[in-house]
């Protein structure tokens, strides 16, 4: 089903369900199935595989790093791989690495579900779910700021490099130190901008009336409920996959 057409409340529900299930499910098979389900929802919803890859590729490095850290530094369990009589990888370490990597990937993919649709629809969805308007607005305003902050951070890093800073050729510790010092003005700028935004909003009478009405109301359709039920049932079914593999 095209995710543009799905009620935003259902999309938020799917996001919460899938990401919570990713944290709760203890077995790699369940998580692999959940990953397939999340991918299926996105593809059926109108996202092309290339688009999924473009959006998620930035995380590949982080996932790989987490996988290696869990794999190499988790000493519990039976050794699987040896190097000069020293256990390098254990079954428990490999299992944990798989769980952590899959969980992160599923959470990121499930977050892509809410990329479909207009932000004002999500504002309506949250207020109709009895979330106070101020909080709903704040959440969406913060989300809108993220790409700007990213662009700002990139510009600061470029400015430092153009003034002779060699980021690529420095060690990991020094790189981390440089990034932290470069991010300080970005964070300070974000706080300053948030303050300015609050002034601008109050100057335009934000919260002048205690009750805020909206001309448009979201209406849940039967097809939306059916779609949500199918996905929820699929998630529940996935929870039982480890039992099938044991038998």
């Amino acid at each position: 089903m095209n995710l543009q057409m799905v009620d935003p409340r259902i999309k938020i529900l799917l996001l919460l369900t899938i990401s919570s299930a990713a944290l709760i499910f203890p077995h790699p098979f369940s998580l692999a199935a959940l990953l397939v389900l999340a991918l299926f929802i996105l593809m059926a919803g109108g996202l092309k595989p290339v688009q999924v890859w473009v959006k998620a590729r930035g995380l590949c490095g982080l996932i790989l790093m987490l996988f290696l850290i869990q794999c190499l530094f988790n000493r519990a369990g039976e050794p699987l791989l040896w190097l000069f009589n020293m256990p390098i990888v254990t079954d428990f370490g490999l299992n944990t690495a798989l769980l952590v990597s899959l969980r992160l990937l599923i959470i990121v993919l499930s977050a892509m579900i809410v990329l479909f649709g207009e932000s004002r629809d999500y504002l309506l969805a949250l207020t109709q779910c009895k979330v106070p308007y101020e909080i709903a607005f704040m959440v969406l305003a913060a989300l809108r700021f993220l790409p700007i902050l990213r662009e700002e951070a990139q510009d600061v890093i470029c400015a430092a490099q153009l003034r002779g800073l060699r980021i690529k050729k420095t060690g990991l510790f020094h790189k981390l130190k440089v990034y932290i010092s470069l991010m300080l003005p970005v964070v300070a700028g974000a706080i300053h901008r948030a303050e300015q935004l609050s002034f601008a909003m109050e100057a335009r009478a934000f919260r002048a009336n205690s009750h805020r009405s909206s001309m448009r109301r979201l209406r849940l359709r039967v097809v939306d409920v059916f779609y949500a039920l199918v996905i929820l049932m699929a998630v529940i079914a996935i929870a039982f996959i480890p039992l099938l593999t044991i038998n």
């Binding site: 430092a160 153009l162 002779g164 690529k168």
Partner: protein, 212 residues
């Protein structure tokens, strides 16, 4: 010379390229003003010249070397770049360190770097803020500091994206005179992204109008 050859540039979120088969050149020892309507791609062109963005087709070469084959710190030794928003290029703890940051990276000795930084602090009337945090300056002061930090590097080319924003009449004239001095004495090539017809007419030798 900076040569832009048959470039095509498309932003990831856009369907239509902002530049298609666009060519231009910028020589040392001349001030070129780049103008055009809002959204025509002036800032994009300036970022392409500084190697911050890379064209999908065509090439941008600085003295014969493509920006694709160089790291930003290598480009920074030849091209100084002033961002439109000074907040995006001020990241040091003090005004003084903001200027010496680039000079130290160039390998200048401490005394030389201090002398040069003090010269530019005086020139841009920022000496009284020497040990202040750059974030506490006004917009005009930040703009002057960002300019000072870029010009102090003494690069062969300088790309300035809207340098006159936030400057009063007197400081605009001083900036114009400094650019002329840099151009004549150091044979520096200056690319000036600007909206002000009067400033451009007074200080630029050539105007490049970007078509929409």
């Amino acid at each position: 010379m900076i040569t832009v050859e048959q470039i095509t540039y498309l932003y990831p979120h856009s369907d239509t390229p902002i530049f298609q088969d666009f060519s231009a050149h910028f020589k040392r020892g001349e001030i070129v003003a780049v103008s055009g309507k809002n959204g025509s791609g002036k800032t994009t062109l300036s970022k392409l010249l500084a190697g911050i963005l890379q064209p999908q087709k065509g090439s941008v070469c600085i003295d014969g070397l493509s920006t694709k084959s160089q790291d930003l710190f290598e480009i920074g030794q030849k091209v100084g770049y002033l961002f439109q928003n000074p907040n995006r290029q001020l990241f040091c703890e003090t005004v003084f360190r903001e200027i010496t940051f680039g000079l130290n990276n160039q390998g200048l000795k401490k005394q030389q770097a201090t002398e040069k930084a003090d010269y530019y602090l005086n020139y841009f009337n920022l000496a009284s803020y020497r040990d202040d945090y750059p974030g506490h300056l006004s917009h005009g002061e930040k703009q002057r500091l960002a300019l000072a930090a870029v010009l102090a590097l003494g690069t062969d080319y300088v790309v300035l994206d809207e340098p006159t924003i936030g400057l009063d009449m007197l400081r605009r004239r001083e900036l114009g005179e400094l650019l002329l001095k840099l151009c004549k004495e150091s044979n520096c090539g200056i690319v000036l992204i600007c909206q002000e017809a009067e400033f451009m007419a007074r200080y630029a030798e050539r105007e490049l109008v970007i078509p929409v």
